[in-house]
């Protein structure tokens, strides 16, 4: 008898094996299920944390700053690429767009309102300046002039404030001007700040700024000067120097303040390098217009401004780089010949009208003019030689081409003195006498 041949044994063995396999398999299954369960629980926890992150961190940050969120939106990178993560990105994206749209709309309407308001103020400041100029011209009393100069200065500052806000809102920077010498543009800028007496322009320059860029450059430099003067001790000077570089001219504004701390410097550099318009709602409280408007004007008119160097006096050095396209050496580079003859020419023209009558006795060789007048006809003016019209303004347009501007002026002076001495000389020291 052999056990081996007993089928019951074989059934038993087979059964045992089957049971063992079953047990083993079910053990594996249980382990797998536990593992899956754990993973799923983990997944749910991560998703809960993600949604919590969105609600408590991301969206409040968006509302607070209004800036698009940089970096990852997810806390758990394992979720990247899942529909869940895509959903979160979509939600945050829509929220961001909605906030940006709302802010842009608010910004747009705020800018439009400010622009319109500033245009009115700018026009008023301009009118007031004309009125002040007229008063300065009409009255010779020194005390009155002193007061008018102070009012004029305040009006210029007022005009600049309006101009800055208008420029920042994409409005009018002021009217188009003729090209002006760089030195005058700097003096124009200097006159617009409160502490203008502390500003010293150390050198003169023979370049001029083209008409289109005069106001923007003056405005940007005025902001730099204002900044330099505000952040340096009251007894120190703010210096302006020019440096010719291969492709233009650099204007350097140095102050003797404490300089800017790193954060302010970075913020300034960001505004100065901005290529797109700055939102009016992002200027802080109270709003800081200076660097944003300088950056805008620079980008718009093609000059560059940097504030990343130190001045030799320990403060800040701002460098405005004016490229050759904005410069010219022509017209007003030297104001002496350009401006003086203009007035002389005008006076001479007036004197040219007077002269024929005065010259009649001298012109005895041609008595027909006087005779004709006696006959009741209109006197005829005779010219000895034809005279090109364009010379009338370039040179003194009198019948005596040898007479210089100064001589003409001298003649007019004699005429003026003659008429004055013919009158009763009582109005001399009244003080309020008009010109």
């Amino acid at each position: 008898m052999n056990f081996v041949q007993d089928p019951a044994l074989w059934y038993g063995v087979a059964g045992t094996c089957a049971a063992a396999v079953y047990v083993a398999r079910s053990r594996i299954t249980v382990r797998d299920l536990r593992e899956r369960n754990r993973l799923l629980a983990e997944d749910v926890r991560m998703r809960d944390e993600e949604i919590d992150n969105v609600v408590r961190v991301l969206l409040p940050a968006l509302i607070e700053t209004g800036d698009r969120i940089r970096g990852s939106l997810l806390r758990h990178e394992q979720l990247r690429g899942t529909p869940y993560a895509q959903g979160i990105e979509t939600v945050v994206g829509m929220f961001t767009t909605a906030i940006e749209d709302a802010r842009d709309r608010a910004d747009h309407s705020a800018k439009n309102a400010l622009k319109a308001a500033m245009r009115t103020l700018q026009a008023l400041a301009g009118e007031q300046q004309v009125a002040i100029s007229d008063m300065q011209n009409n009255y010779v009393d020194a005390q009155l002039l002193q007061d008018l100069l102070a009012i004029d200065h305040m009006n210029s500052q007022f005009g600049r404030r309006a101009q800055v806000i208008a420029a920042l809102c994409g409005g009018w920077t002021g009217r188009q001007r003729a090209a002006a010498p760089l030195y005058d543009v700097m003096r124009g800028a200097k006159g617009r700040i409160r502490d203008y007496l502390r500003v010293e322009i150390r050198m003169q320059s023979n370049v001029a700024v083209i008409g289109r860029a005069v106001e923007p450059v003056a405005l940007a430099v005025a902001e730099l000067l204002d900044n330099a003067a505000s952040y340096s001790p009251p007894h120190t000077t703010v210096e302006i120097n020019f440096q010719t570089v291969p492709n233009g001219v650099c204007v350097m504004v140095d102050d003797a303040g404490v300089g800017m701390h790193e954060e302010a410097r970075q913020s300034a550099a960001r505004f100065l390098g901005a290529t797109e318009p700055v939102g009016i709602t992002r200027l802080g409280h109270p709003p800081q217009f200076g660097f944003p408007v300088i950056g805008m004007l620079a980008a718009q008119y093609g000059f560059t401004v940097s504030v990343d160097t130190r001045s030799p006096y320990g403060g800040m050095r701002a460098v405005v780089m004016l490229p050759s396209e904005l410069l010219t050496t022509a017209v007003d580079a030297d104001p002496t010949p350009a401006a003086a003859p203009r007035r002389v020419a005008r006076v001479s023209r007036a004197s040219a009208d007077v002269e024929p009558a005065a010259a009649v006795p001298a012109a005895a060789s041609a008595p027909t003019g006087g005779a004709a007048a006696l006959d009741g006809e209109l006197p005829q003016r005779r010219r000895r030689a034809p005279r090109p019209v364009e010379h009338a303004q370039a040179t003194a347009p009198t019948e005596n081409p040898d007479r210089s501007d100064a001589e003409t002026a001298g003649l007019m002076g004699a005429f003026l003195r003659g008429t004055r001495s013919g009158r009763v000389p009582e109005t001399d020291d009244k003080g309020q006498e008009s010109r």
Binding site: S133, Y139, T336, R342, R420
Partner: protein
């Protein structure tokens, strides 16, 4: 540009008078008036750093004697501002001024009337 009517006011309102005089309305010298005559003195201006306006003023006066009013007209500046500039130039010894030649003393109307009355009584 010369014929542009805005050209003058254009330059004038870029550089305001208070910048030119550094805020001063009172000249350092008294006695300048509209008809005072301005004479440029021979001298070297190079040691002095002059504003463009002062340079122009000197250049104008080098051409001949002008009155304060004429200088102001040529420079297109207010009289008061020109007086301040002139005083500064006088202080640096670059210009001199002198009173105009006084008008001849005319007899008073009242005196003439008395003479006339006296003659009529004869």
């Amino acid at each position: 540009m010369t014929d542009d009517p805005t050209a003058k006011s254009d330059a004038a309102d870029l550089v305001r008078p208070y910048v030119i005089t550094r805020g001063r309305g009172h000249p350092t010298r008294a006695g300048l008036d509209l008809v005072s005559l301005v004479i440029a003195l021979p001298g070297d201006e190079s040691p002095h750093i002059l504003d463009p306006e002062s340079t122009r003023l000197l250049a104008l006066c080098r051409g001949g004697i002008l009155s304060v009013a004429e200088v102001a007209g040529h420079l297109a500046l207010p009289i008061g501002v020109v007086k301040v500039l002139l005083s500064d130039l006088m202080d640096t010894g670059l210009v001199a001024t002198r009173r105009p030649i006084p008008a001849a003393e005319l007899p008073k109307t009242q005196l003439l009337q008395e003479v006339l009355d006296g003659l009529a009584r004869l």
